[in-house]
Assembly symmetry: C2
Homo-oligomer: 434 residues x 2
Amino acid sequence: MQPFTSAFGIVARRYGGLKGFYSAPFLRSNTLLFSRSFLRHFALISTPSAAAMSTVSPPDVTIASINPKHLQEDLNANSDFFPFDEILYCNSGNPHSLGQPPVTFFREVLALCSHPSILNRDETHVLFSFTEVAVRSKQILSQWMRVWWRQMMLLFLKQFEDAMARAGEILDLFPARATGAYSNGQGTEGLCEAIASGIASRDGFPCNVDDILLTDGASSAVRMMMQLLIMSEKDGIMCPFPLCPLYSASIALQGGFLVPYYLDETSGWSIDIPELRKQLEDAQSQGITVKALVVINPGNPTGQVLTEENQRRIVEFCKEKSLVILADEVYQDNIYAEDKKFNSFKKISRSMGYCGKDLSLVSFHSVLKGFYGECGKRGGFMEITGFSADAIAQCRKLAIVNYCCPNISGQILASLIMNPPKSGDKSYESFFVE
Amino acid sequence: MQPFTSAFGIVARRYGGLKGFYSAPFLRSNTLLFSRSFLRHFALISTPSAAAMSTVSPPDVTIASINPKHLQEDLNANSDFFPFDEILYCNSGNPHSLGQPPVTFFREVLALCSHPSILNRDETHVLFSFTEVAVRSKQILSQWMRVWWRQMMLLFLKQFEDAMARAGEILDLFPARATGAYSNGQGTEGLCEAIASGIASRDGFPCNVDDILLTDGASSAVRMMMQLLIMSEKDGIMCPFPLCPLYSASIALQGGFLVPYYLDETSGWSIDIPELRKQLEDAQSQGITVKALVVINPGNPTGQVLTEENQRRIVEFCKEKSLVILADEVYQDNIYAEDKKFNSFKKISRSMGYCGKDLSLVSFHSVLKGFYGECGKRGGFMEITGFSADAIAQCRKLAIVNYCCPNISGQILASLIMNPPKSGDKSYESFFVE
């Protein structure tokens, strides 16, 4: 479990060990991150309907209480007031900001694709060949220096050759090898194919390349889906609480209605079907047309990994109620518990016998999360199944209007996370260690 | 003048020379790109109101007639039917797709920022130092090879050192040098400062860093402005015809009203103030609240460069009618006529004595256009002046909801186009030649 994926996730610690954690909205209470009042609080700020459900007055949220810089000032001024001495930023949704280095292989490929002429430059090749010549020459290097040099260069070249090969393959997917040109709105065809192949290999079920739509990160994809699904303030989207603010913001922006459902803390933040049914019926009784259910697995901010049985019941519920499943699966590579395993909703639904035509399912993935955490690179994709050809066409048109084409560096990274170095590849060892 | 900046720009040629050009919507007519019927046609497909103004029935637009792939098939099947033998794609808005290589300095910096550890790697430094040692050693290289090698390496290193220095400066702007982390929604602070400084140096008037908002290309910025300005179908935006489809699409997406105004072909596609006045009054008489005027300078797709006098009159008109000026200035570096010069609307309005408070002006710029043409990198920015602090705050909030933060590679490129190598820099010579 990874409890700090919330955008607001900060932890306050006393030197020498963790003494307790604080969620930003509750800076002055001793409440744990996912307390009941936290849930009520989020419900309150997210939608009027949720607010109406809450009967307990939540603590005030102001710039002063929500901004960690203010907390730092308060801490400096009144250190005795707080049960900790230091604020530790630990937002696992933005790991590079905390000093986590990027994955070398990914960045090597990206650097080579950013400046493809390196691959073809005479001097680069001469440099490498020359190094070999020099290493073999007794005239310039002492024995120890030759050994050291050879080892270092071999290690460097071994990894780098792999990155060069991959970069070459990727560049060949672009007309004129031009990563500076527009791709089509769906994303570069060959990269979509690489992603489809990665999904098929992950799930053990086929993936159609036409179902892939590359985006500038998952947030861009989620916003686009909300644009497509929400026509009026009577259109509702079910979202899990504790809530990832991307969803409340995207629904609010489109003028839709957020229908909350509450995760069950006592059973490891699982999704309780009677709770889904109750919230759906409540919303319908208010005249809301519920169109889709957002399910975040692994959870954000709760960090749970849903069981297969729970996932199957969710699929059945959505099928019964004709809801689109919006499966936020961006943390699929962040599984830390040995007895847990990620299963995509696509895999679960296919294993239940549903094919693409009888269940509308969108799976979101992103280069921003996972161990790679490339938040600044804005790469991601959706796999859209069970939509009509017309709906898919509208979706692609919307992508073009929204952003012409997703940024190419993000597209390349998206293809890499779905096809990382494999056992036996020259770069696998260092990739695995990282 | 550059007539083919339209997204639809294709040209059909007979071997041995240009025989005529075709615009995609008129594949089967012999109409020139910017004929009157072309204008009517675009008016018709853009807004119902414009359609109502048109009395001539336009040619049918179908997938078969608008898609150059279909044209190619038709051409293959019925070559005698067409007055040309070959379709030549010449969209100057996407030059890398036509084989134009990227600017080396930009891509070197980008590659180094994509994989910053290259800057610090022992082996990189050793490699370079070692090269020098080897060059000095008579034992390994023949005389001619040493001379050639030295020349080549010096050239390479001279340029590359400059790129390494710039990459180092840029990386220092990021906490933990992490280009993989989120920046804030406005864009990385130091890059905004670099852009503000570039604008100030271009215009000769100060630029406030808080007025800069980095975006994923200009299309993303335009869409965001439309989101902010359009509240209902009665809100109108004035747009020049011939039209860049980004505007019609963005206005349609927000459910606003496109108010067309027609450029005057006889005076080099200038903007005629009586025409602006007429179209504004027509729209107002239909109950439309006209909020802003889009002006594209240099023109897209018309390629004209507005005269200073014309720009001053446009500023006066917008001031008088309280219209926001949305100045699309993405082609500011594409001036090919010797007697033409680009002047930003910011510079013109400041030289007229308007300060930031008395005129609402948004200037769009992008790494996608210009001689750099980095369409796939999705970098751009807006300079927003004359908006209230509340409006700016809403704008920033919208940016975060729309895309969290603009992609970092695009941000870096945006800072580079506003601060390219200068005369005297080691990389200037090769940059200038390119």
